[in-house]
Symmetry: C3
Subunit: 220 residues, 3 copies
């Protein structure tokens, strides 16, 4: 298996791929809302860089990664343009959107945890940072587009991000090599989400009863 020997290089590439796939998910959401091409570029870019931006702000890493390297923005805009002209050939844009989001989730939970550990944060913080990095880009996308946040959907979502981030922390603590750690943690996060998506699986949910709605907007 060809594996880059340089961690920074691996992280750079994973980050780049993560921005691309999240940007695609953002552009597909924009297509479903019939936006114009500039709005495509904005939604795609913000979705792509959103998770990493919150990560960098919380960890006080300055400058934020896309200010240090605006190539990320070009990547986001490029992905938006391609989707703008090709989305109609996809059979189900929503399905592709979900899978792009899943790939981004797998990548960003690893990068979030890695960055947090590298800045000296303890394990609990690293896991949460992985989950936040993996989910908040998509959250900004869903808020901008007035969509139901994916975390509300039944299939395993936050759990997959938490598993990926926790796997990274565990393997890192065990002294496993970084390349392998990154790959296994990505497979854990993405894999669990993929299982949830492919089979419509969900974890046992809270089953007290759904919130009742008394008709005055004050449920349960």
């Amino acid at each position: 298996m060809p594996v880059a020997s340089d961690l920074d290089s691996i992280i750079f590439w994973l980050d780049l791929i993560g921005v691309v796939v999240f940007a695609v998910s953002g552009a597909l959401t924009a297509s479903r809302k019939q936006m114009d091409v500039v709005s495509f570029a904005l939604i795609a870019t913000v979705t792509g860089i959103g998770g990493g931006t919150i990560r960098d702000v919380l960890l006080d890493r300055t400058p934020v990664f896309w200010i240090a390297n605006p190539f990320y923005l070009a990547i986001g805009c490029g992905a938006a343009l391609i989707v703008f002209f090709t989305a109609h050939v996809v059979e189900s844009r929503y399905r592709v959107l979900l899978w792009a989001d899943a790939a981004g989730l797998g990548l960003f939970c690893v990068i979030g945890a890695e960055t947090a550990l590298a800045s000296g944060a303890p394990v609990g913080v690293a896991v949460l940072m992985g989950v936040i990095t993996a989910t908040f880009g998509g959250l900004v996308r869903d808020v901008l587009c007035a969509e139901v946040p994916l975390i509300l959907r039944r299939e395993i979502y936050a759990t997959a991000a938490a598993l990926g981030a926790a796997t990274y922390c565990l393997l890192d603590a065990l002294g496993v090599g970084r390349d392998l750690t990154v790959i296994l943690a990505f497979l854990a996060g993405f894999g669990l989400r993929a299982v949830g998506l492919a089979f419509g699986l969900s974890l046992p949910a809270y089953r007290g009863r759904p919130g009742r709605d008394y008709g005055d907007g004050r449920p349960d």
Copy 2:
């Protein structure tokens, strides 16, 4: 009345209690949406630490409090777990959620104002910081769960947070002892919100007329 003599200790404990009650409100919202246990933990933790995180980022306090002390995250997850297994015994989860949110609002408007003043900010900034700290954790919760933000509900909400923060600033300026200042400011903020909740009271609202809806999504 047994009162801690050390301000930092008081603030630490109030912060901790605020995180717990907001986490409970987040977990109860998750229960109403029938989420799985990891989503419970995420929503609860993010709701608990959300207000303080925005406070620390805006005041450029680094590291953010829960990165410096990840015990807060354990507290949030613990609260989520307890709610996951016990929420069904509560008669009205929404009612408990509202009261937990009210307690958190009272605590966080005080802590927000205190932190802002301690960092040298003027009074106007301290009041706004109190309100933002008290309301934005719940806002993130409501956005994540696609709920109507509590600020849109009729009962006194932002007003209570503003009163608590302003009370803190006033008593602090008058040279009242800190323990007493913290306690009275909390009682002012929580008390006003409690009155609003218990009696369904609201301040006189703007009464021009509600926004009309022309049927094309362009009301009034």
Copy 3:
């Protein structure tokens, strides 16, 4: 044409006007939701300072502008009060809201781009920062008030902000004087948005097909 000769002074005044018009748009949204006067003040202030706050946090400019100069908060509260007592005389509050938002968008895309360039950021970052500064205050307003984000409306929106910011960067690179650059860039951004609003114009949008809804909440 009377033009201030001092850039900082121009920027200060434009920033102030931008906060006022966005605060007015926030207060009008609060009026349409029949909120009380303190909620008016909160929504108006947060809408007014939201875009610039995100700009300052992302660029790591400390302290955030309204912490350094709380006069901005007084301006926001004052605008909220005036709207609270006068909104009923306006024939269409929603129309005024849209135009106030348009003026703020024109001002803030210029200020966002200017601030980013002044902090050494490259052109791509400056354009995105202009768009984010111009649109995120309104986004926070719409989220707080559970309104459909303006970016989802059909009329040219993000495109106008991008044009204004790009115009600023272009004229700045060409060595045009700063006063003229600011004025022309504002006219470009606000003008394009005004054309969109006045004539209901929109750019060609993605026209594959709207997202289908399969009835289970999983459209297309």
